[in-house]
């Protein structure tokens, strides 16, 4: 059962439990519909792929309807009191675009290879690598910036 992994991945991206649950349910529904065509070993990858694309569609619809607001910049909140590195990292992750964030989460949470991440996100391996590298640099710069140093 990969429901938890998919749920964590989507929830971390959307930060909305209800929407994340809906996407997990949709993904499983599609899995059931297509399960006869699928190699059983690919079920997890299929779930993540379906969930990722459903999430991207969801984000685009929400952005189009204006129900997703850009995350407010907090850089002016200098020397904010952070107690936990994870808290800062979560905040930094939230500031990445959805593709970069997804690539990082698929790599870190699920340990997918560049090739597998490419299959899930529809990117080629070079693009995955570039997204991942840029995301890492952004996260590092965010974490080590003076206002975020614990």
């Amino acid at each position: 059962m990969h429901a938890d992994g998919v749920f964590r991945f989507i929830l971390k991206n959307l930060r909305n439990e209800h929407d994340a649950q809906d996407i997990v349910q949709d993904s499983f529904e599609k899995l059931w519909i297509n399960h006869k065509k699928l190699d059983p070993g690919k079920a997890k990858s299929y779930l993540f792929t379906t969930a990722y694309h459903t999430m991207i569609d969801h984000i685009r619809k929400k952005k189009h309807s204006g129900s997703i607001e850009d995350i407010p910049e907090t850089s002016n909140e200098t020397f904010r009191d952070y107690s936990d590195l994870r808290e800062i990292l979560d905040e930094a992750l939230a500031k990445l675009n959805e593709v970069q964030r997804s690539v990082v989460l698929l790599r870190d949470y699920e340990g997918y290879s560049y090739h597998e991440i490419g299959e899930i996100t529809g990117l080629n391996e070079s693009q995955v690598k570039v997204y991942l590298y840029r995301a890492r640099v952004y996260l590092k710069n965010y974490i080590v910036s003076p206002e975020h140093v614990i």
Binding site: M1, A3, D4, G5, V6, F7, R8, L11, K12, Q21, V24, Q25, F28, W32, L85, R86, L89, L93, Q100, V104, L105, R107, D108, Y109, K129, L132, Y133, R134, R136, V137, Y138, L139, K140, N141, I143, V144
Partner: protein, 342 residues
């Protein structure tokens, strides 16, 4: 190649262009000048071509250049960054990894960078779990129920289940019954001799009541109008065979008569009549695999054992004596079932 032909009025434009762009060879330049002298009407065209080219209108500008710019999210993307990330991701070749290992020992800056990148690794929060996994499980439609024979089987199973339930639910094991069937009593039952009953004959067979309705009374209630128990043995004794036979006329019960105990319930009820009516019409084919066959039963509880038990319950409800008769195919396997009785 362009100058394969001498200049003439059909190809002079090539010479003009090349001359003004400085690409015309000297020998061809002499040829061009001779041509212009021979064709003065083209001299003006030659001179105009030499004027300044048209210039773009510099006043026309694209104002919103900002939207064309793509901001690089990475302010700093040095070789060291690249190496530190690749080291973290395991992307380095063996040689590069050796270099990186050496840098980690010797280069404080690289070591610090490496530590910073280590902190960018996200760790899943395993306390987050999907709350309703049961909802994700496939609730398949039972397509095989569409099979007519299995529909029969399902209906029969439901009825048999109700019958089994009824068997245990409505069969009191310790209630004394009037019966027309002789039954051997091992001991003369105490406590049942003194009671009195009102009986109403519902059906008779061969002038003998076969079905009665009666209400039991405890001791002390006014005498009955009808009831009689006849011992089958010539001489009543504590150990012997007794029969309860009812007559359709008032008859006082003797205080010393014995009512036979009969644990085989003989009751009619509306539910029982409905069941019996249904089963009198039902004869279901079964295509399901069953190991029971003509040769004998398995030592395990089979579907037929359950069906027989259910039928006993239905008999108890309906005061009937139905049995399930199995139909066998040539291989001796059960292929259908028929209700028999009455």
């Amino acid at each position: 190649m362009l100058y394969r032909m001498a200049i003439n009025r059909h190809n002079y434009e090539i010479y003009f262009i090349d001359y003004h762009e400085g690409n015309l060879p000297p020998d061809r330049e002499e040829e061009l000048m001779a041509f212009l002298e021979a064709n003065p009407d083209l001299k003006k065209e030659f001179d105009e071509y030499s004027e300044e080219p048209l210039l773009a209108d510099q006043k026309i500008i694209f104002r919103n250049k900002k939207v064309l710019k793509k901001e690089e999210s990475t302010a700093e993307f040095s070789d060291n960054d690249r190496m530190a990330i690749a080291y973290l991701e395991g992307d380095l070749s063996a040689d590069a990894k050796l270099r990186a290992d050496a840098m980690l020992k010797e280069d404080d800056h690289f070591q610090q960078l490496h530590e910073h990148y280590l902190t960018t690794g996200s760790i899943a929060d395993y306390s987050i779990i999907y709350p309703d996994k049961a909802a994700l499980k496939k609730k398949s439609n039972v397509a095989f129920l569409l099979s007519p024979s299995l529909l029969y089987a399902a209906a029969a199973a439901i009825i048999i289940f109700i019958g089994i339930t009824a068997y245990f639910r409505f069969t009191p094991a310790d209630e004394p019954r009037m019966t027309s069937l002789p039954q051997r009593l091992e001991t003369r039952p105490a406590g049942l001799i003194e009671f009195q009953a009102d009986c109403l004959v519902l059906e008779s067979r061969n002038d003998q009541p076969s079905s009665i309705q009666m209400s039991w009374r405890e001791e002390g209630i006014p005498p009955v109008r009808l009831a009689s128990i006849h011992p089958l043995a010539v001489t009543p004794s504590p150990q012997g065979t007794y029969a309860a036979i009812l007559f359709p006329r008032p008859f006082p019960v003797s205080g010393s008569d014995v009512f036979a105990m009969d644990t085989e319930v003989k009751q009619k009820s509306l539910v029982g009549k409905i069941f019996s009516g249904f089963f009198n019409k039902a004869s279901a084919p079964f295509s399901i695999e069953n190991k029971s066959n003509r040769a004998g039963k398995s030592d395990k509880l089979s579907i037929w054992d359950i069906a027989d038990l259910g039928m006993q319950g239905i008999n108890a409800l309906g005061d009937h004596d139905y049995t399930l008769v199995r139909k066998y195919n040539e291989e001796g396997n059960v292929k259908g079932v028929r209700l028999a009785g009455e």
